[in-house]
Symmetry: C2
Subunit: 434 residues, 2 copies
């Protein structure tokens, strides 16, 4: 399925595009001013309007059924169709938008009706999210955070057996660009025995990979790890905004709650497994002494190619940077290679108890930090809990995020002989507490 | 709004009915064989078909708008309307079904079309659940469970300040009568350092009050405690089935996950605040030395009348009892008085960070145990973690639930001068692991 770098589109902005070359073709939901949300595909600086293309009769067979399932401003029904429909749609899009497309003229004649500029378009959540689950599979992050609380024993005994996860809040997942209102809540000030109430003073980001669930399973049935791919619709970037002071006070014994539920931001484009195919790799060998996964979490093919090499980046743009016309400053450069468990292992684990997954459910990977400075996926790790502020190019310092700060997540896949693939941005700007 | 015991219905089975006298009028969604789910009201042994009554022209004004919002097999739109619509509907139902109804003849002439026997009807979830949140406000339960893990320090320091809660799984909430498939998962056998995989061996129930959320709030805005009533649509019974062995191994550091997400059962009828009005009471005084609630959790009216006196009961029916025609045996008799926080406090807390609540969201109270033997809301507490098995009338013993066991939750409100109000049952029978 993977396409070489030489493949080109007649949509000029797609060729060499950092995020959305012809090889990517991520799906999403967009709207033009005054019209209802509809499905589209990012191509260079434009969006190919799937519903308009359907009306033009550009699809037939399985690809047509796939596009029909994307209608209504939510991709859930498309996700539910599974991989065959997705692959058929991709094949047809490669024909339609490829350099030698016989339909180029017909499409170009429709102009902005079929290919509006992405800049004009508002992007929406791609699906109605039934349930959102946040995992904790970035082992470097788990170690970094564990060290802050338990210096001698950063990883708990279950970590290398159980893909740790917890239920998140689905109602507050929002697409990139949505404002991030600083939450209020209870915190226990240092040295005090009684909590205070007020705006969060330790607001943080978390760099995560998001996973959109495809076909669901019946309640009471499990998804075997070898079948997991059929149940994964695609990928995005996810910022699990975190109020560290609220979290520290509330999270025992049942886990994070209001410290996370005020907003979770995702990049709006669903990048498919097909687009990411060239960037698959073997799951990194477990360090000596680590246990092997239990049988329900072990699949040879998954071990050999279930991991991804996706570069992940976090940038900070402060009010001062905007005023001085400075570019956003990088805080983190990490990679999905730091996942201790593969995405297939997450699907198998989540459903092993018979829990029903549904098309449009969202998983977060957990924060994906690397082991070294510059690779930490949250300010909690970068500043060691606020003890070592970051110095910015403007001369400003940050322990945690301030009002007006904007966090930008990006992802990039690179490999010799293949076009680079990106995810688009996941942005969020902090606005003051109410 | 509350109606005295003397109020009678011309529906004969309603008068003196333990659960559904005319004073209750809970809403739900039911279906007859071969027809689509629709809204109805429980009255004695029958269901008043709201959609059929709407077609007959029995409603007008606000009550009509309320019934229109119940159409489509989900009460979400009705919940979103808030209390005025609900109160108008109740007033009209009291007229229609009251002893001196001028429309009795018209309704009776329709026979089973308007009043099918509940026994013929399948009951469904009353709403599409966006998010499900489980709280932990049964302080006796928190103390009993805390003692098992931390004998000297059963309650964590945050317990009396924070209404502790966590996100649950919405996709596996099911109505009473749905089978409970024993989950499989990882557990750490006593004395071992490596986990095993297999069927849960410590399957348990948890007796909870369920709360259906009414009108939602915009993201970023909080619901003031004084406004919480407008955001509560009604109440049900909730069994938070728990796999104790899976829970013990997985829950650190992010809370319960697969140990709870295999199923959560609810009673299907939505009992309204109006029906429960006579059973409101002052929030029990906090023991000397306990802190006062923070201002966002404090409201004088809520302190004076925000708690409920609802008797809660758990019964166990084993295979042997069924074979011997023995009645189900009571395991627990408790009361909602054991909630350390009121329902209004839960709503205010959940939204204080700007988290968006939506009509049809579901809250669980947490297990509502009393302080004494016979009042414990889970087998974990009754058997002290399996150390002291319960002896049953059949001569059987139980540490935890076995395949074939059925758990039945019931609730009853009693007060001199008022009709008794019930919730109907919340049942679930264990079927073997796959």
């Amino acid at each position: 399925m993977s396409q070489p770098a030489t493949l080109r589109s007649w949509v000029a902005s797609a060729n060499g595009h950092a995020d959305f070359p012809l090889q990517n073709l991520p799906l999403g939901v967009f709207s033009l001013p005054g019209s209802a949300p509809r499905s589209g595909v990012a191509i260079g600086e434009q969006i190919f309007d799937l519903e308009a293309a359907l009306e033009l009769g550009l699809f037939e067979g399985q690809a047509k059924a796939a596009v029909e399932a994307t209608r209504g401003g939510q991709l859930n029904a498309f996700f539910e169709l599974g991989s065959a429909a997705r692959v058929a749609l991709r094949a047809r899009l490669l024909e339609l938008l490829g350099e030698s497309s016989s339909l180029r003229g017909k499409i170009e004649a429709q102009g902005a009706k079929l290919l509006p500029l992405a800049a004009d378009c508002q992007l929406h959540l791609p699906a109605r999210i039934g349930d959102y689950t946040d995992f904790y599979v970035g082992i470097e992050h788990a170690q970094n955070v564990g060290k802050l609380f338990r210096p001698d024993n950063p990883l708990l005994p279950n970590y290398k057996y159980v893909p740790i996860g917890y239920h998140g809040r689905a109602s507050t997942v929002r697409p990139s660009g949505s404002e991030v209102r600083r939450p209020k809540g209870q915190t226990l000030p240092a040295g005090q025995s009684e909590p205070s109430f007020g705006p969060c003073a330790r607001l943080d980001y978390e760099l995560e990979l998001g996973i959109w669930i495809g076909r669901g399973n019946a309640m009471g049935e499990s998804i075997a790890i070898g079948d997991a791919a059929e149940h994964i619709a695609g990928f995005c970037l996810l910022n699990d905004w975190s109020a560290r002071d609220i979290q520290a006070w509330e999270y025992q014994p049942l886990g994070p709650f209001l410290s996370k539920s005020f907003i979770t931001s995702v990049s709006p484009w669903v990048v498919t497994a097909e687009a990411l195919e060239p960037f698959r790799q073997a799951q990194p060998a477990r360090p000596q002494g680590d246990p092997q996964p239990l049988p329900y979490l072990f699949d040879t093919r998954d071990q050999q190619g279930g991991a991804f090499d996706i570069e992940l980046e976090v940038l900070l743009l402060t009010e001062a940077m905007r005023e001085q016309n400075l570019p956003a400053q990088r805080l983190t450069l990490s990679n999905t290679r730091h996942m201790y468990w593969t995405v297939a292992q997450l699907v198998a684990h989540h459903s092993v108890n018979g829990c029903q997954l549904q098309a449009g459910d969202l998983f977060g990977s957990g924060t994906l930090s690397g082991p070294e400075a510059g690779q930490f996926g949250s300010l909690l790790e970068i500043t060691e809990g606020g003890k070592k502020p970051v110095e910015l190019a403007t001369g400003e310092v940050r322990k945690f995020l301030e009002d007006g700060d904007e966090i930008i997540l990006r992802a990039r896949c690179r490999r010799e002989g293949f076009a680079s693939i990106g995810f688009g941005e996941c942005r969020g700007k902090i606005v003051p507490a109410r």
